[in-house]
Symmetry: C2
Subunit: 396 residues, 2 copies
């Protein structure tokens, strides 16, 4: 049995206002081609299918078409879950009809306990949830209220959920899990990986690989780089498309999908790369270099987007220059423009001009730092995170 | 062959802020019961399924459950279209999977030309569209541009669409049409019926019954009362729920669905009433009467909502009274409260306190009247209507 593992499609996302839909359609084509070439038995999509709770109409139409191509035109099963970016209620619409053609899409905890049965494996589809969802679920399922109120961390909730899944384990089959969380290698390490929300991984919102030790293989979504995979059989596929400049800065940045083969020899994984339609190139140079034809003519100007930081920038020299317009003449699509200014006290300051590129949590964090000169404490960070989670919840 | 004809569910609608979802669930139960008792071969839903382009999550969940009960639990086909309140793109999501179990849902013109074939009839499902949609469609289907630009009214567009449908007519079957427009009896009459948007029927946005003369029977949505049906075989089913106070004022206001029987004897229609969970009662009385226990104790205080107009209201007598609070003690749920004030020049003025109850067009209309003392001309009204249509289009 062969599965293609992908995640974090974030259909409808933009990069500083530049729509990524064409990129997403292009990588989708490649994913479908890989699935057909490899003759897989299904495609796993591990959450964050849309970029937001209320995707725009074009995103809805595009996703519908992608799903149709996989499931109805090519008759491939889909094993999918919602992520933290999806609205569980909205994405749930229509799933009862999709099931008729082996398109499985879970968005609520209660849908996760009954696995999809294949001859060799049981596939458990556990959507993203938070401790409050777990309290609601267990509160409605015969758990005494005191015990329900004790579910405070995602780790506590996950232990209960996994224990309930294990009740349905068939000892003669492999046990696969598809889910959408930040998972670190073990209880003692707090990796500083960045997820798509740019929040640090670790703390209350994090799970450790130990919690999934009862599964033979875990296909994760949430963190956008496969290099964040906590163990050899608890894996992030990464997103098919680069979503921000931070990601473009990471070395070894190739995007792709995993082909996971389950047979009598065990479970094997093979990485298949995806080629971006438009690459995202980070340039950090002085103004003169950036404007030098010898330099910019060597860049792939027609097939890439640029994130540019002007180094050693002296605003007084450019009072009458429209910096962006001048650079745009050469570089065409500039998705981000930063200035590294030599400050009066000789400290280098980077001014990020794109507040839209910051997560709500980071915005608060930077504001706090600007005002107080200090970082938020871990406790404060958790508080801020919880507040934004609640706001987000209200919108779903 | 028997069909149940309903329309204008407007799932998720509120009445001056009071959610109607419970009402909608209750009438849905009754509709499903009627369908089962009558052993119909399908349920027709003629548009305006949701109340808005982006329904809230509860509306989405509720509609999904209703559709499931009809189609997957009771194995009844659904023949549905989108109305002007629905987002064609959003509601289109998932239809390819729904079709697998005879749940047909059309939201675009191009989906309307191929009828659903039953042994006795062809069912054409034509969603709401406007002349711009028709220009887009025909512009992509080999029509010369000059001709495309000539499509200016909905009537011109409909003639083209019906002509294209007729190419697929099977002469051995009855031809049924499901659609969502304002249709008046014939070309010479301009009925002043009110649709759900409260705009007058007639003019550029109106069709006449002649345009549908090639169909044996037409099941319409858009106008919320069945008494607006233009002919004996071109019918509005009306909405299952009363949506506003204006509607509650209309005599002979019973809501219901039609059972349409197609057999060798022709086509027969039978009306089946629905009973509201909560009735909407309009009271227009003097303050003293409204506060008189003999009067209010005779009202169905626990099972109805009230829309109250205080007649001969003298504000100077009630400076220290919280009018709404006082009335709410007796009438519990007051969804609308108006004052009929004796103005200084002895003209009776009704002050509508609920601007939320007005359509955008009516708001402009009233504002214009207040400022200029004149009504908008027909040309101005059309202009205002077009502006709001464009705004609405941009959101879909």
């Amino acid at each position: 049995m062969k599965l293609l593992h992908t995640a974090d499609w974030h259909i409808g996302r933009t990069l500083n206002g530049y729509p990524l839909l064409d990129e997403q359609r292009e990588t989708f084509k490649q994913i479908l081609d890989i699935a057909k070439q490899e003759q897989v038995d299904g495609i796993v999509i591990a959450g964050d299918i849309y970029d937001r709770a209320i995707p725009n109409p074009e995103a809805v139409t595009t996703l519908d078409e992608m799903f149709r191509k996989i499931n109805l035109e090519n008759h491939l099963p889909i094993y999918a879950i919602s992520g933290n970016h999806d609205s569980a209620k909205r994405l749930n619409y229509g799933r009862a009809w999709m099931k008729q053609s082996d398109f499985y899409l879970n968005t609520f905890i209660e849908e996760a306990f009954t696995p999809i049965e294949t001859p060799q494996a049981q596939i458990f589809l556990l959507p993203f949830f938070d401790p409050m969802d777990a309290r609601t679920y267990y509160g409605h399922h015969d758990m005494p209220n005191e015990q329900v109120q004790e579910i405070k961390t995602i780790s506590q909730a996950m232990n209960l959920v996994v224990a309930d899944m294990k009740k349905n384990f068939d000892p003669n089959k492999k046990h696969l899990l598809v889910t959408h969380f930040a998972v670190t290698p073990n209880q003692d390490t707090e990796l500083e990986l960045t997820s798509e929300t740019n929040s640090k991984v670790g703390g209350l919102a994090t799970l450790t690989s130990d919690e999934f030790s009862d599964f033979d293989y875990v296909m994760l979504g949430h963190i956008h780089t496969r290099f964040a995979s906590p163990t050899d059989n608890i894996r992030y596929s990464g997103s098919p498309v680069k979503f921000n400049v931070k990601e473009a800065r990471i070395k070894n940045k190739g995007k792709g999908v995993d082909i996971v083969t389950i047979d009598d020899n065990g479970i094997n994984r093979e990485f298949k790369p995806l080629t971006p339609k438009t690459d995202l190139i980070v340039l950090e140079e002085d103004w003169d270099t950036l404007c030098d034809e010898k330099f910019y003519s060597q860049q792939p100007l027609d097939s890439a987007w640029f994130a540019i930081t002007i180094k050693n920038f002296d605003p007084s020299e450019h009072v009458h220059t429209n910096i962006r317009a001048k650079l745009q003449k050469h570089y065409k699509t500039i998705v981000e423009l930063d200035y590294q200014v030599k400050a009066s006290d000789n400290q280098i300051q980077t001014i990020n001009t794109n507040i839209n590129d910051l997560s709500p949590e980071e915005t608060v964090d930077q504001f706090f730092k600007t005002i107080t000169g200090k970082d938020l404490s871990n406790q404060q960070k958790t508080l801020v995170e919880n507040i934004f989670n609640e706001v987000e919840r209200a919108r779903k």
